[in-house]
Point group: C2
Chain length 405, copies 2
Amino acid sequence: MQNILDDITVLDFSRVFAGPAATQVLGDMGANVIKIEPPAGDEARYYGVTKEKLAELGGVSPSFLALNRNKRSLTLDLRNEKGNRIARELADRADVVVHNFRPGVMERLGLGFDTLSQSNERLVYAEFSAYGRKGPLAHIGANDLALQAHSGLISITGEPDRPPVRCGTAIVDLHGSLALVAGILGALLHRHTTGRGQRVESSLLLSSAHLMSYFYTEYWMDGTVRKPMGTANHLSVPNQAFPARDGEVVIIASTDEMWKKFAHAIDADTLDLPKFARVFDRRQNRVELIAAVSALTTQMTCAEIIDRLGEAKVVVAKVNSVGEAADSEQLEAVDGKIMLQAGAHEFPSVASPFQFSEVDINAAKSPPSLGANTHDILHELGYDSATINSLSNAGAFGRLPEAAE
Amino acid sequence: MQNILDDITVLDFSRVFAGPAATQVLGDMGANVIKIEPPAGDEARYYGVTKEKLAELGGVSPSFLALNRNKRSLTLDLRNEKGNRIARELADRADVVVHNFRPGVMERLGLGFDTLSQSNERLVYAEFSAYGRKGPLAHIGANDLALQAHSGLISITGEPDRPPVRCGTAIVDLHGSLALVAGILGALLHRHTTGRGQRVESSLLLSSAHLMSYFYTEYWMDGTVRKPMGTANHLSVPNQAFPARDGEVVIIASTDEMWKKFAHAIDADTLDLPKFARVFDRRQNRVELIAAVSALTTQMTCAEIIDRLGEAKVVVAKVNSVGEAADSEQLEAVDGKIMLQAGAHEFPSVASPFQFSEVDINAAKSPPSLGANTHDILHELGYDSATINSLSNAGAFGRLPEAAE
């Protein structure tokens, strides 16, 4: 079965999170993704692990393994004239270029949109930046945490009247990765009509604003500035986490009908009372209601609560640990796990978050070791082994890590 | 300038968040989005506001305004034979169908993938579900909070040794919306090659797993189960929020070089010391370092810290409130705001998180009132006014809310 991007070559200059996460999705869709790495490699290769741990894990960090399947690696020193020329040659044959350098860097390397699109008018040129290419913050560096702060996301996350916290995962980066994927696919579609590529942009700023969109709209409409509410939210009661004997569960019973079902599934005598009957009553008597529900759930196990509420069709879910979530039978049942090789070990990684009936990606390629495909990719460009060696001696690929040790 | 999806018709049966957020992006890209609403309307129209407030805001809630521009609204009673037939006729002419009903509902309505694709083989059929169409949880209801819990995201969000919290915004829904967009665009690309549509699936489960991917991979690789760390993370120190005189700032100085720059920008005497010099030292002496930095930042204003660190090229950002973030000059500078009409008022909404050099969406259509385009859309299907009236009398569009009052 032909995969969707089988005839698309992606030249990926991006590093660490959002860019690599995006090109992994394109690779899952069949694209020929060439990961251009600096001689020292994408920093994510070594992220959050010690050298000893890294050796144990087969040479790749968890975050690198999670975001770099279905790619080949080529090291290039873009400041070396010959290395830079190879990048130009690859870009001339590519369908998509992706990068996340600060504004101006690719231009200074002779790899800007205007230059590359002159010789390859079909090129889709995708840029992922911190705050965008214009405006007062265009030249400020940032990362996921910076945009969680800037966007106001931190200000609505946490316990009431306590210091706010970050969302535990890099959601701005990962959301941005899908924004980039959607933009690239949109531009490829447009190319079918026009025959021409174009520049596609996304940023941590746009990605974080999209995540906060309905909060901003509310503020713009009536000035409301929301604050942290723990696991609860302002829309309805109950709609939050409750303690069980062996953990916590979230329970959502927003409508009056749902509340009645919930009350009868747990304890009608204590809960199915006029003071809690209607949406307005439950908001009004929120503190009392939360206390009453908590007193009941504390005596039950998570499994018991989930069974009872599942049967009553009330929305309920266990507050899982990372391990419980990763091991969830459901994730496996919907093909959410993809097995990858890392050295002598085999580890799962998480599938792209959408699936097609006509194509699949079960035969995923494991993340490449640094520069692993340099020779193959140069051969495909038409270079013979002797020339590749002389390019290597001239520093086109940088000092390879073997030599640097 | 032609927009990317100008020739694409999207029939959108979805409600509330993820689906509508996805079709808004498609509408921004030029698609003709027909929002099929039940006679009572998408619940999001009334979300989180009182009836009085709603009237004041021009009849749309903030979350509806945020996620429903560039669409037209048609009310249909899908259980009414004539209403159902109209849906079938529309699907026969559509390029994309989107829905988020529980598994089996569309099939029972005669609007399942197998049925619709028989008469329209070019149809892209996009389904967004809670936990997917198979597996033990396929028939369990869920929402954003439920998947924040199930995925383990809540378990890594919050202060250390305090109850964990939710991420303040509906990130699973919104991330899922982009997953759906990417899947739909992928299937449209594939149709260029094959001439045929296909089924595309995403879910809250796949979306949340993608957001947690590198945590799951770490767990799968070495059993690590991460816990909440406030605004900090496990990768490096300092990499978190610090108090200022008039608010909080996040500061990220992960590498030794960056730490040195940071120390000199703030107070070299107190910070540029051997005990903090190297990554390992800073992790080891974390508590002491955080206290030392906090003691200094508390005496400065946010603006002063940002100025100093910005100049030193250290990543820094203010912990903005929702209002400060929404009003950010930068968001406006990168065209992140789109003006919309709501009744007599004009309010901004947040742009789609990617942009193209060859097309733009400045002329956005405001969200439609319920059923506003029923007649137009039926006319386009070839019905004359007399027939539309008789369909209305037969209940095809349900009892319209005017009649129900």
